[in-house]
Amino acid sequence: MVESIPLTWEEVARVYGRKIYNFAYRLTGNADDAHDLVQEVLLRVRRGLENYQPGSFEGWLWRITRNAFLDEIRKRKRRPTTPLPDEIDRWDAATSDPADVEYARITLGDDIQKALLELPIEFREAVVLCDVVGLSYEEIAQAASVPIGTVRSRIHRGRRMMKELLT
């Protein structure tokens, strides 16, 4: 029922847009990719709100966000000329574009971002959802459709890898 929707699409866009953008940017290391991902996610949320069942809104929203990101990776796999986020040095790519140079200028923590991009996607996603977005393990488990124990393991292993990369 439409009446049971807690937020309108516009409200979701305003409230969660920045969170989704930060998630996308930290996951891809690239402003253009983050921009495209936010647009895609907001479109899916707008369509999905009609069938949204009251429950964990955060879990629902981040599942959509995650699926949009994975779909983009799959699309790029089918277009081998376009490199995957994991397959190139995204930081170098980011700094080659004038728009991204601006981001690089204002963005601190370059080494942290670089290390994040070195992580396998499952670990990176878990760490970003936990430490950048601020989700609980349970919310991350719902978003990624995995047990909480898997979330715990991915976050821990991701941080350990970052520790090695940063030392």
Partner: protein, 137 residues
């Protein structure tokens, strides 16, 4: 000695359950390796959490009223008639152009009514629904 290292990150996040916390703390009291691990993982966690929050680029999120039907509003009885007409058009559009509209009739009616009562610059009843495709997208 078994090192419960996987508990350390969950401990930092306040995500341990049951007696895991007491078990880990007992272990940390006697294990220098895990204590050092805890400090290093805490540094990583703090570093990621201190990444600057990026602002959304302008234009990425539409204006709040971007999906309110832009109608030349009217007073009194015309308000209801206009809202009904819009609802009818949307209903037809939702049938012929899936996926359906993500705005409820109640939402439209309340927005329309609220805006109508606040806007003194009404013109006589003239309902214009500019782009159906935009609504039903």
């Amino acid at each position: 000695m078994t090192h419960p290292s996987e508990l350390i990150s969950a401990y930092l996040d306040g995500e341990l359950i049951g007696d895991e916390t007491s078990k880990l703390l007992s272990h940390l009291a006697t294990c220098g390796r895990c204590s050092a691990d805890l400090e290093e993982l805490q540094s990583v966690r703090t570093a990621v959490r201190s990444l600057p929050v990026l602002e959304l680029p302008p234009g990425l999120v539409p204006e709040a009223d971007a999906f309110v039907v832009p109608i030349h509003r009217n007073r009194g009885v015309w308000v209801g008639a206009a809202a009904a007409a819009v609802a009818l058009i949307i209903a037809i559009a939702s049938i012929v152009t899936p996926p359906p509209v993500s705005i409820s009739v109640d939402d439209l009616t309340s927005r329309f009514g609220a805006r109508a009562s606040l806007d003194p610059a009404f013109s006589p009843a003239k309902v214009v629904v500019p782009v159906l495709g935009e609504l039903s997208e």
